[in-house]
Amino acid sequence: MKILVTAKRVEDPESKIKVKPDGTGIVQEGLKYKINPFDEIAVEEGLRLVAKHGGEVVVVSIGGKEVHEQLRHALAMGAHKAVWVNHTGPLDQMGVAGLLQKVVEKEKPDLVILGKQSIDDDQNQVGQYLAEWLGWGQATFASKAESFDSENEKNKVPALVVGADNKTVRVVREVDGGLATVECQLPAVVTTDLRLNQPRYASLPGIMKAKSKPIEELIPAGLGVDVTPKLTVTKMSAPPARKAGIKVPDVATLVEKLKTEAKVI
């Protein structure tokens, strides 16, 4: 089967993010970048499914030349080929979904797996838009609830199972208060939650092999997609600094303050 996965370039969550003084964005100087962690989980899941069912994993990223590093990273993890949608400038979730739709129509995968959201904008919309516009089934927040190291987990049904006939996919979703199992006709769109799997590290032989794997370039105009954002960011600001706490002399005062000042009990 053919699986399309995404690899958005995002700021490394370990780096310190600073908002520009004029509120137009974040300070990019000195930042490190990596694959969106949820997308990394999508890449890993794609690789595992292909290891089981055969086929290939195609990784796609949208952005300037710099996203090659993320594509190459996914290729080093084991993806078979990459599609680079060469676009610089602002892009909203509908623009992204529109571009991905065209890539899907071109690549004709059996399954699209993407992160449930990217850790920069935290929109959580692209997978849903994409499924809707393609007219495909969607299963969001694919997950496993147990720790990966437990015996219990080893005996569990995997969260993502493709039917023997390659016509359906069963997905265990993380929902409020528990897990829901859904079955989708293929082709389908699946988005990944945090606990689905633990992505592999890019191995050194993988890095070397990735050098000769193809990256195909596409441009939005060539795909016939108008990516003019319908959504604009008007201002960015850092969250307000936390105020210092107070110390209370005893429990009675604490209870009193919770009642009268915080009004939570």
Binding site: H73, A76, Y201, S203, I207, M208
Partner: protein
């Protein structure tokens, strides 16, 4: 000129960093305290290809270059000097001697298992009575019929206990001194071959070090590595490359010392200020940063020369000498910045300081490096 790492090396760096954050950083202190060799983590590094960085793909390695070794070792040393030493010595010494000077049969036999870390490689040059003065070695190999009989003792051998494959340097023609040295491959468990662990090291405590005793160890001529009498010349070439790696290890320790110092100095307050506000400490960290970057540039230059087939003996020594002395200064400052806490095992900087000292000693002392640099400089002057 381009000071950016190639894309493949940046991916390698990111991959190893993430691995170390999860699997090394939380445990390095305990391994050090218990002198515990982290077998499982070494096995996982093997799966990532880190134990066969320079080994060609056809022998199961990654087929990357000296710059990749430098990047990988620096990254690991940032978290754990001992583990970095394991990776450095395995890649740079034992495995490299077979990789560079082994015949096809020897390469096929050993490299695939060494490259995946299934077997660990060790390299036996130093003896109880000779280190940098390699020609003063006492170990002998005498040809008796079809076999060579090895006798002697090797000292401070990294991977000495956990290793499977040992490259042993021995005198085959004692009167010829350096020109009478030959290399042999000895495998663990061979009759007459004993490995005795050495405990109580100042630093690099979770790296495995041992004394090797060879008592009438018989090896076939097919275990001879390289030409008879060529062992010492080959050894010098292996050491040149190994020195780049020790330089990278020292850079990793220095960087760790700086990063930990920045973090601590922002949190710790004195006289109503974070101590990071005080100029005396800021200047220390300014020096640490400057020197660490300079050391890395020397290391990367030596790796560049090695990767482009140019002479690099002097440049490798310069990188190793400077980086190891930078690491000592940086780690010493880091302990000072951490004050009383820095003197305890609660913070990693005391471990970095103990680990850094090895870099001024192993694979040729600083004094030997200066001699090499002077010799090579006068040669061309």
């Amino acid at each position: 000129m381009d000071f950016e790492l190639p894309e493949s090396h940046r991916i390698l760096q990111a991959s190893i960093r993430e691995f170390c954050e999860k699997k090394v950083k939380p445990f390095a202190r305990e391994w050090d305290a218990k002198e515990q060799f982290p077998h499982e983590v070494v096995r996982e590094l093997g799966q990532l290809g880190v134990m066969g960085i320079l080994v060609k793909e056809e022998y199961g390695g990654a087929g990357m270059d000296a710059l990749a070794v430098a990047v990988a070792v620096e990254e690991i040393a940032r978290y754990d000097g001992s583990l970095a030493l394991t990776v450095a010595s395995h890649n740079g010494l034992g495995t490299s001697h077979i990789r560079v000077f082994g015949n096809e049969e020897q390469r096929r036999k050993y490299l695939p298992k060494l490259a995946t870390g299934e077997w660990l490689g060790a390299w036996g040059l130093t003896e109880p009575g000779s280190g940098s003065d390699a020609a003063g070695m006492k170990t002998t190999a005498v040809k008796k019929g079809d076999v060579w009989v090895l006798n002697g003792t090797k000292m401070f051998i990294t991977q000495g206990t956990v290793g499977h494959v040992f490259v042993i340097l021995a005198l085959t023609d004692p009167p010829k001194r350096q020109k009478g040295i030959t290399a042999f491959i000895v495998e663990r468990g061979q009759k007459g071959f004993t490995q005795r662990p050495i405990h109580g090291k100042l630093g690099m405590r979770s790296s495995d070090t041992a004394e090797l005793i060879l008592e009438n160890v018989e090896v076939p001529d097919s275990a001879r590595l390289g030409e008879v009498g060529q062992g010492f010349i080959d050894t010098l070439k292996i050491l040149d490359r190994g020195r780049i790696t020790i330089g990278a290890l020292a850079v990793g320790l220095a960087r760790g010392a700086l990063e930990e110092s920045i973090r601590y100095s922002k949190e710790r307050t004195a006289f109503g200020h974070p101590i990071a506000d005080f100029q005396a400490l800021r200047w220390m960290m300014a020096d640490m940063k400057t020197e660490t970057d300079a050391a890395r540039l020397l290391v990367h230059r030596a790796a560049y020369l090695a990767d482009h087939g140019r002479p690099y003996t002097r440049e490798a020594s310069m990188a190793k000498l400077f980086a190891s002395e930078v690491a000592m200064r940086a780690c010493n400052k880091a302990v000072q910045i951490h004050g009383g806490y820095g003197y305890t095992r609660e913070f990693p900087v005391e471990r970095y300081l103990r680990d850094a000292k090895l870099c001024e000693i192993g694979e040729g002392t600083s004094e030997i490096q200066r001699s090499i640099i002077a010799r090579e400089t006068f040669k061309t002057a």
